[in-house]
């Protein structure tokens, strides 16, 4: 099990590397002493203001996303791209924050809800709903009612999964992750099986729900998602100090007067809601949250949630918006972003595993 001291030790690593880069830049003989001083000052300023820097990068990528290659068709492009931009940002927020909270709750920097099968659970629920209701009544359901129903089911199911995973195998981290991963495979196989059992028209409905799609976003869901994100943001922001205490470990948190049961329940609700939102909008992405949280832990100055919650949302939004801009407008490869994110996230996961392995040796 990783403890919060491990979490803070990543932080010291980050400062170490930043000073190392600092030294190397000042050792460069090409600059005059004054320029060196300027550069060092700039670097310390950058390292000291990760949030502002991230916000600036996000603004730049948003502008690029909205304006690149529009070729004069503004009234056509702006609403279309605006909707997509909003969706990307909502997804970035949902995945980033849910993963960060999940890592806090489980005291573990290499977990994400997706890795334990939470979002394939959502896809399975979709398939089950289609299976029992039929595609026609499924698609004609009132979107708000449908989404509420899905979230309630999702929350109940993820509570069960969480209980099972953390009561049976919380002692052994590797077993926990492996069981979670296999649960994910099981849910995906079950969805695939259901998809084969229903008729072809229904199959299309399920199929479109089970792939990560950053290009086609359901506009109906966007409004609901925005609303949900706003509500969760209020709760998460109110819990931010309690989360800091929670990172000390369950026993310490209880000792320090945290109502652990209630906080854990609340956090799990928020996580389930956010995972369902992100999955409903773009489909499952396994490693994105992990990638974003690892990046955030690198660049954040300390592990307080006040800073990291904002930072993780910004980093996730940058990854999605900038990535989508580059792939769509610069490289002309529209659908590749989810594959690339999975690839980078998978490599990050392996790197984290090997790093923790080396530390524990």
């Amino acid at each position: 099990m990783f403890s919060s001291t491990k979490l803070t030790s990543t932080k010291t690593d980050a400062t170490k590397t930043s000073t190392a880069i600092d030294n190397s830049s000042s050792a460069d003989g090409q600059y005059s002493a004054a320029a060196q001083g300027q550069l060092a000052k700039l670097w310390t300023w950058i390292a000291a203001h990760p949030k502002s820097i991230a916000a600036i990068i996000l603004l730049i990528s948003m502008t690029l996303f909205m304006t690149l290659n529009v070729n004069g068709y503004w009234d056509f492009a702006l609403p279309l791209r605006g909707k997509k931009l909003l969706a990307l940002m909502v997804v970035g927020y949902a995945i980033g924050v849910s993963t960060l909270l999940f890592q806090t709750l489980t005291h573990n920097p290499i977990l994400t809800p997706s890795l334990l099968g939470f979002d394939s659970l959502y896809v399975l629920l979709q398939s089950l709903l289609v299976f029992f209701l039929g595609a026609i009544s499924f698609t004609s359901l009132d979107p708000i009612a449908k989404f509420t129903l899905e979230i309630v089911l999702m929350f109940g199911a993820s509570l069960l999964l969480f209980k099972l995973l953390f009561s049976k195998s919380s002692q052994d981290l590797t077993r926990l992750i492996l069981v979670g991963v296999i649960f994910g495979v099981l849910f995906r196989s079950l969805s695939a099986l259901i998809a084969r059992l229903i008729n072809p028209d229904d199959f299309v409905v399920v199929q479109s729900a089970s792939y990560a799609q950053f290009n086609t976003v359901n506009p109906q869901l966007l409004g609901i998602s925005l609303f949900i994100c706003a509500i969760t943001a209020i709760f998460v922001w109110r819990w931010r100090y309690q989360c800091d205490v929670l990172m000390l470990g369950q026993a310490q948190a209880i000792n320090l007067g945290i109502n652990y049961q209630r906080l854990a329940f609340g956090l799990l609700t928020v996580i389930a809601v956010l995972v369902a939102t992100a999955t409903a909008l773009v489909g499952p992405v396994t490693f994105f949250g992990l990638l974003v949280c690892a990046l955030t832990n690198r660049i954040a100055r300390h592990m307080y949630h006040t800073e990291r919650l904002i930072l993780v949302s910004l980093v996730a939004m940058i990854c999605l918006v900038l990535g989508q801009t580059i792939f769509e407008q610069v490289l002309d490869m529209a659908g590749v972003l989810s594959v690339v994110i999975e690839l980078a996230g998978g490599l990050m996961f392996l790197a984290l595993i090997f790093m923790s392995q080396r530390r524990s040796l």
């Binding site: 049976k168 195998s169 002692q171 052994d172 590797t174 077993r175 992750i177 492996l178 069981v179 991963v181 296999i182 649960f183 495979v185 099981l186 995906r188 196989s189 079950l190 695939a192 099986l193 084969r196 059992l197 396994t286 490869m333 659908g335 590749v336 594959v339 690339v340 999975e342 690839l343 998978g346 490599l347 996961f349 392996l350 595993i353 090997f354 392995q357 040796l361």
Partner: protein
């Protein structure tokens, strides 16, 4: 005899085995129990089971078919529609299923012995995914090349994938036996992401899905014969079974008994790569057979390969036959691919293997 289980392996090296004391206790008991069930009994029972399943498999299908028609054509010495159906479709399909089941189960057993880990199988060490990648690349670069060339490239790719994986896990201590399948799953996912990326860019996703999704519906006479090669490889595995067992006992024991560990390991890796490549080329990936079947057999009759290999092969064949029969009858007259069925059955069995372990302590 379960001397090569990580637990005993660790005990040979040092007396402290922190995390290895969990599920191995089940097989560890087999040391004292010896075999409760004699091998001849298991083999006869699984042979009878397989015979029944073969008859069932031959008589299930969409086209009209009756055994009396076969008898009639045998008596009158003339071919009718029943006998040609049997010869062109049903018998090839059943043989293909049996050979695939045998190949995947035996390949799983070999890789488990060579890596000294109970929880791996060809798709968890990157073998099948690399084979699909190699196959895709050669099909794109040299679409006109002969099938045997494509298969050769797939085999080489599978060997490379497994080599990379073995390099990756080189530093993982043998006591941390659950880490290896976890890394393997992520590693396989990364290779799959690369493959999907290439397929996406070259618009050959449809081609790829044929290999990524095991299915016997396309098997007719003339399209499965390559699978006999895996039969030959299984015979070879039986011949060198004792050497493989000794390598599985650990490096020092192999050295003491005069077995070249390196040579036998490479033969094992090569055989697994070849079997995976042949299966991927002809029917596609079928996950979890190589994991579940060897585990069940070794629970029943220990780990001495010469004794357990026939049972592994027979049970592997029966498992795939059963799942194919379920797949063909669950939504008659449509067909559910065997990989989908095995995805559900296999994951449930694997979860059972993973989760029941801690309670045995």
């Amino acid at each position: 005899m379960s001397l090569f289980s990580p637990r005993t392996h660790a005990r040979l090296k040092s007396s402290t085995a922190p995390s290895a004391s969990s599920w191995q206790s089940g097989t560890g008991n087999a040391l004292h129990r010896r075999t409760v069930v004699p091998p001849w009994f298991i083999n006869t029972a699984s042979l009878i089971l397989m015979g029944l399943l073969v008859l069932l498999s031959l008589s299930i299908g969409v086209a009209d078919f009756s055994w009396s028609g076969i008898l009639q054509s045998l008596l009158t010495q003339s071919a009718n529609s029943d006998s040609s159906l049997l010869l062109v479709s049903r018998i090839p399909r059943t043989i293909a299923i049996i050979l695939t089941g045998i190949a995947m189960a035996v390949a799983g057993m070999i890789i488990q012995v060579v890596l000294k880990n109970r929880f791996v199988e060809p798709s968890m060490v990157g073998a099948t995914q690399s084979a699909a990648l190699g196959l895709l690349v050669v099909s794109l670069l040299f679409p006109a090349s002969a099938l045997i060339v494509k298969m050769g490239v797939a085999t080489i790719a599978a060997v490379f994938g497994m080599m990379l994986f073995m390099l990756l896990i080189h530093r993982i201590p043998p006591t941390d036996f659950l880490m290896i399948p976890l890394i393997g799953i992520v590693f396989g996912g990364i290779i799959e992401a690369v493959t999907t990326f290439i397929a996406y860019q070259t618009e050959s996703l449809q081609l790829l899905s044929v290999w990524q999704f095991g299915d016997f519906s396309g098997v007719l006479a003339g399209r499965y014969e390559l699978l006999w090669l895996t039969g030959a490889l299984c015979v070879l595995a039986y011949i060198i079974a004792d050497k493989l067992t000794i390598v599985g006992l650990g490096d020092n024991i192999a050295l003491n008994l005069g077995i070249s560990k390196r040579q036998v390991t490479w033969i094992g890796v090569g055989m697994v790569a070849m079997m995976s490549a042949v299966v991927v080329v002809t029917v596609g990936m079928i996950p979890f057979i190589g994991l579940v079947v060897p585990n069940i057999v070794s629970r029943l009759m220990g780990d001495k390969l010469r004794r357990s290999l026939p049972a592994v092969a027979l049970l592997g064949a029966s498992a795939v036959l059963l799942c194919d029969i379920i797949g063909r009858s669950i939504r008659y007259p449509f067909e559910v691919p065997v990989a989908t069925i095995f995805g559900v059955v296999g994951t449930v069995l694997f979860l059972w293997l993973l989760l029941r372990a801690p309670s045995e302590q």
